[in-house]
């Protein structure tokens, strides 16, 4: 039983060792003060020139924009916090959830009859079924985006090295004109070191992308059901020799929670099966490795589940271990529903596709 008031409390996510009521009223007081402070400041700013003759008349421009912005943010953030906290105090969690459901149902009126999706906790990504396969019904999208890593590495490399060159040029100019800047010269050294590292990192990423080509995974059905057999086709291109190339069927639990201002993310594998393995694979340009796999989702296992802070994720993981260089690991999410669940309408699904 929590005490009524504690100075030090432990908190993880929405769980806390403090008394709930004390926390709620404290939060309410905090946002109320914030809101009132903003409101009073705004009133003073606007009314002062009218009330006190010696005050400078109110004119927008210069620093006054900034003052107005800060005061408005106090009112907006404080007001929002006040409303949210009042709702939390006055309504139970179930009531808030029911209100949210009703709001969502009203929002979906134009598209449907107002019942909303049948299984709202089953993920329905548009990209999961909108791409037809060549061998099988669907081509799976990967949740690993190598192109983004390349873009970030490239952007960082260009910006950092441009900055370093500018600094080095200024230092050089100083020496040439006879007023040397020894401290600036010393400061350029770590900049140069990071610049060289960024070039090397970008080169490694580029080489990796060039050597290990795209992975293509196709699946016979989406969504899958627990206990259901499925066919899968994997194609890996590139020009590299791999010690081993494996395909895995994986189920993971994922949770997130707030710890202070941090968001903590946890992940745990609860099902793992290696469904294909090839040793000493030589990938050559124009000759991709192709594997056809027959597998099965285990019966009586948990289905895919997606909630704001918790998830159960099923995926196929393609893994390649080269003799040297970084590991290839690409996940491809799949959707699993219970064995006897009704037909699930996926976003972007065309019904005749599975019959191909």
């Amino acid at each position: 039983m929590p005490k009524r008031f504690r100075i030090w409390v432990k908190k993880q996510g929405s769980r806390s060792t403090s008394a709930r009521r004390v926390g709620e009223w404290g939060e309410l007081a905090f946002f109320a003060i914030w809101f009132l402070l903003g409101l009073a400041s705004l009133v003073y700013l606007l009314a002062a020139p009218l009330l006190f003759e010696e005050t400078v008349p109110w004119e927008l421009g210069g620093g006054r924009w900034l003052v107005l912005l800060v005061v408005s943010s106090f009112i907006l953030l404080g007001g929002r916090g006040l409303v949210v906290t009042l709702l939390q105090i006055r309504a139970s969690r179930e009531r808030r959830s029911a209100l949210a459901h009703n709001a969502a149902r009203l929002a979906s009126l134009p598209e449907s009859d107002g019942d909303g999706p049948l299984m709202p906790t089953i993920p329905r990504g548009v990209n999961l079924t909108n791409s037809p396969g060549i061998r099988l019904a669907y081509r799976l999208p990967t949740s690993h985006h190598g192109a983004w890593e390349m873009l970030v590495a490239c952007s960082f490399c260009i910006i950092w090295n441009a900055l370093t060159l500018f600094l080095a040029r200024e230092v050089w100019k100083g020496y040439a004109q006879g007023h040397a800047m020894p401290l600036a010269a010393v400061a350029v050294v770590p900049f140069l070191a990071i610049g060289v590292w960024s070039i090397r990192f970008f080169a490694v990423q580029l080489s990796r992308q060039a050597r290990i080509g795209p992975t293509l995974v196709e699946i016979s059905q989406q969504p899958l059901r627990t206990g259901q057999a499925f066919a899968c086709f994997v194609s890996q291109s590139g020009s590299v020799t791999l010690k081993q190339f494996t395909v895995h069927l994986v189920c993971e639990e994922e949770t997130t929670c707030h710890q202070g201002t941090d968001i903590r993310f946890d992940r745990q594998v609860v099902y793992h099966e290696e469904i294909a393995r090839r040793e000493n694979v030589e990938l050559r340009s124009g000759q991709p490795l192709e594997i056809e796999i027959d597998s099965e989702i285990p019966p009586s296992f948990m289905h895919s589940f997606q909630a704001p802070h918790n998830a159960v994720v099923w995926k196929l993981v393609v893994r390649g271990e080269p003799h040297r260089g970084p590991l290839l690991e690409r996940p491809f999410p799949i959707v699993v529903v219970p064995e006897d669940a009704p037909e699930l309408e996926m976003a972007g699904t065309s019904h005749d596709r599975s019959a191909d």
Partner: protein
């Protein structure tokens, strides 16, 4: 003054199949009708575990004397509903999904009482932690 009694009665052995229709009952006792400010009854799922808790209601009703009801709110009330296909009850490693029937009683004094009965939906087997792709099983060597 003793705390009010909230009784919830679920049919059968509290294990149901998706799509099954159930009728459950609840009743309030040991409190004067004039002291009751509101009663909220709901059927919902929530998560417990390492992450923050998620919650979603399947059924919700709020009864307020004089507004939504004219009779005695303490009397036994029956609620019939059809259970959904998902999410099924789940005993995982990082997260668990629980289904329950919950009743909240709000008194005019500002006090609040809660009672819930957990039930199982579906028959998903409990999960256990396993080694993922590329992970090594770490074992502690026995000391001689």
């Amino acid at each position: 003054m003793i705390d009010p009694l909230i009784s919830i009665r679920l049919p059968g052995r509290r294990s149901y199949e998706p799509g099954q229709e159930i009728t459950w009952h609840y009743q309030i006792d040991a409190v004067r009708p004039a002291d009751v400010a509101a009663i909220e009854a709901s059927v919902l799922w929530y998560t417990i575990g390492k992450g923050e808790s998620d919650l979603s209601v399947l059924f919700f009703e709020r009864r307020v004397p004089g507004q939504t009801e004219v009779g005695d709110l303490r009397e036994m009330r029956s609620v019939r509903l059809t259970l959904p296909p998902t999410p099924l009850s789940y005993d995982g490693v990082l997260l668990k999904i629980r289904w329950c029937a919950r009743v909240r009683l709000f008194l005019r004094s500002g006090r609040e009482f809660l009672e819930e009965q957990v039930f199982r939906l579906g028959n998903v087997r409990p999960a256990r932690a396993v080694v993922g792709p590329g992970q090594q099983l770490i074992t502690v060597a026995e000391t001689p």
